[in-house]
Subunit: 339 residues, 2 copies
C-alpha cells in the first residue's frame, strides 16, 4: 500500500488518521492509491497506531432504577450516529445497578477496549458520572444529572415537563377541563418532571390540578389499580400519564368499568413505546427525538476521544418531544403536533 | 511486565494467548507477575498479536422478514455468553434486508473488526449463510436453514412444532377439544412449523383440525380481524396462536364480543414476549431457552475463530421451549410445565 503510493507507512497512517498533517498533493496521492487498491485498514492495526478502538460502550435495559431501557430504535440510532464517524457500538451488558455498570466500564477501560461510553437512565445519586470523570473516560449521558445540576459532563435530555404541557394543551384545546394525572411516584426524577409539566399547564389555565395519583410502579397492573381509584374519585374526562405503561393501565381500568377510551375518556401516554400501538384504541403519546439524541451523545464521545466533529453540539441540550395523536384521545386530529 | 517476569514480550504474549506453548514453570512465573502487577492487556495490542478482536457482530431488530427481532433478553444472554470467553458483542445495525446485513458483514470483515457474526431471523432464500461461508467468516445461526437443510453451518433452533404440541397438550388436558389455530400465513417458515405442531397434535388426538386461520401479518390488529372470523365460524373453546402478538389480537376480538378470555375462551401465545404480560388476562405462552441458545451460538463463533471451548456443542441443535401457564388459559396450573 505504502509502496504503491511511493510514501512511508507513517504517511499512509497519517492519511487515514491525521490527514491534516499531510500536504494536499501527498494526501491526494495516498488517497488515490487507497481507492485503486481497495485498501481497507485493519482495525486492530489502526487501533494500535491511532490509540483508538473506534468503539463506544453502552448498556442495554432493563434498568434497576426505572422503567427506562435502551429501546431498540434508540440503539439503532446509536449505531447510525456512530457510523458517521467510523465508530461502532459495543454492548456491555444489561443495566443492573450502578456498581455492575461501573465494573463493566472498569473492565473495558483498563483494557482500552472502547474509546468511551454512553450513559442512559440517569437518576438521583447516580454513581457513574463521577467514577467516569475520575478515570478520564470519555462519556455523555442521555438524561440530565438529576440532583447534581452542576455536573460538568455533556448530557442531553428530553423535556418531560414540556411534553406533559403539550399533552394538556392538546386535551384542553379539545374541550377537556377535568384532566387528571397518573404518574409512578416521587422516586423517579423523570416522572416528577412530567408531573410538574402537567401541574403547571393546569394551573396556568386555572384548571383543577388536584386529580392526580401515583401507581406503585411503572406497570400495567399498578397503573390499572390506581386508575380505578382516580376514575372513581375524580371522574376526569381525560388522564395524562407519565408513561405508555401506565396509560395502558388506564385503558384496562376504563374497559373494566365500561368507559369507552377515545370517546368517554381521553388518555395520553408517554415515550411512544411499542405498547402505544398495542392498546385499543392506540395511545396518543410523546415521541422522543432519538436521532438527535444519538447524534448528540455519539458526537460528544467522539470529540472527547480527540476527534473533531463537524458542528460540535453544545455541552448540554434539552430536546423537545413531539405529540403523536392517536385514537385514545378521540383521534380528533391526525398527524403530529409540534411543541 | 516482561522485564518483571524476566521473560521476553513474546513469552508474555504466549502466556495470554497461547499458554500451551510455554512450559509449566515459565507459565507460572508469567502468571504470578501478571497477578502481582495487576497487568491488563491492551485489547488493540492483543488483537494485533493474536489476530483476534474478541468481538462478535450481531444485528438487532426489527427484521424485514418476520415478527422476529433480537429481543433484549437474548441480547443480554449473548453478552453473558461472550464474556465467558473474554469476547464482546458489537451491534452492526438494524436488521433491514439480507443485502443490508451483508454490506455490514462485508465492512466489518474486511476491516477485521470482528472475529465472526451471529445470524438471527433465518428464513427461506436466506442469502447470508452462503455469503459468509464464501468469505470464510465464522458464524452460527439462530434458526434452522429453512429450505436448505443440508447447509453445513452450525445452527440452533427452538422446536416450534414441539411448542405448539405442548400448547395443545395443556389445553386438551384441561378438557378442551375445539382448539383452533391462528397463524400468520405460509410465508414464514417458523410459523409453519408451529402450525404443523398444532395440526399433528390435534390429528393424533382425533380432534377436528380444520379450525385454523392466517392473519394478514403478525400484528395485533390483523390478529383481531382474523380471530373475529375464527370465533364466529368455529366457536372454539381455545385458540393456539403462532405468536403473542396474534394472541393479543384474539384477546382483543374476544373482549369486543364479550367473551371472557380465561374462563369462556382459552388462548395461548408464543415466544413469551413482554406483550404476554400486558394483556388481560396475561398470556399462557412458550418461552425460548435464550441462555442455551446464546451459549451455543457464541461457542460456535469462538471455536470457528480458532479458540477451544470446553464442552463443544454439536453442529446443530433443536432446543425445546417451555410452556408458561398464565391467566389466558384459566390459570388452572401455576408455574411452568416442561416439555
Amino acid at each position: 500500500m505504502a509502496a504503491h503510493a511511493g510514501v512511508s507507512r507513517q504517511t499512509v497512517s497519517n492519511a487515514l488518521n491525521a490527514p491534516q498533517r499531510l500536504t494536499a498533493p501527498t494526501l491526494a496521492r495516498v488517497r488515490a492509491a487507497i481507492d485503486e487498491l481497495g485498501y481497507v485498514p485493519d482495525e486492530a492495526a489502526r487501533a494500535l497506531t491511532s490509540r483508538r478502538t473506534r468503539l463506544i460502550g453502552i448498556h442495554i435495559g432493563p434498568t434497576a432504577h426505572s422503567h427506562a431501557s435502551t429501546p431498540e430504535p434508540l440503539l439503532a440510532e446509536f449505531v447510525r450516529a456512530a457510523a458517521r464517524h467510523g465508530f461502532r457500538l459495543v454492548v456491555l451488558g444489561s443495566f443492573g445497578d450502578d456498581a455492575g455498570q461501573i465494573a463493566a466500564f472498569d473492565d473495558v477501560w483498563r483494557r482500552r477496549a472502547v474509546d468511551g461510553v454512553i450513559l442512559t437512565d440517569t437518576h438521583t445519586d447516580d454513581a457513574r458520572p463521577a467514577w467516569l470523570r475520575e478515570r478520564g473516560v470519555p462519556f455523555a449521558a442521555f438524561g440530565r444529572p438529576w440532583g447534581a445540576p452542576d455536573s460538568p459532563h455533556p448530557w442531553i435530555d428530553v423535556d418531560g415537563h414540556g411534553g406533559a404541557w403539550l399533552a394538556v394543551d392538546h386535551l384542553a384545546s379539545s374541550g377537556h377541563s377535568r384532566i387528571a394525572f397518573l404518574g409512578w411516584g416521587h422516586d423517579e426524577a423523570g416522572g416528577d418532571d412530567r408531573e410538574r409539566g402537567w401541574l403547571e399547564a393546569m394551573t396556568t389555565r386555572g384548571l383543577d390540578a388536584r386529580p392526580h395519583a401515583h401507581a406503585s410502579g411503572d406497570t400495567v397492573v399498578a397503573g390499572a389499580e390506581r386508575a380505578a381509584e382516580l376514575l372513581e374519585r375524580w371522574r376526569p374526562t381525560a388522564v395524562v400519564c407519565a408513561s405508555d405503561t401506565l396509560a395502558a393501565g388506564v385503558v384496562r381500568a376504563a374497559d373494566r368499568r365500561g368507559i369507552a377510551v377515545g370517546s368517554d375518556l381521553a388518555v395520553t401516554g408517554y415515550d411512544d413505546s411499542p405498547l402505544a400501538r398495542l392498546t385499543h384504541p392506540e395511545l396518543t403519546s410523546l415521541t422522543q427525538p432519538f436521532a438527535a439524541v444519538a447524534d448528540f451523545l455519539v458526537d460528544h464521545v467522539v470529540m472527547a476521544s480527540g476527534i473533531e466533529v463537524p458542528d460540535p453540539p453544545p455541552r448540554t441540550r434539552v430536546a423537545e418531544p413531539t405529540l403523536v395523536v392517536r385514537g385514545s384521545t378521540g383521534g380528533v386530529r391526525a398527524g403530529a403536533l409540534s411543541f
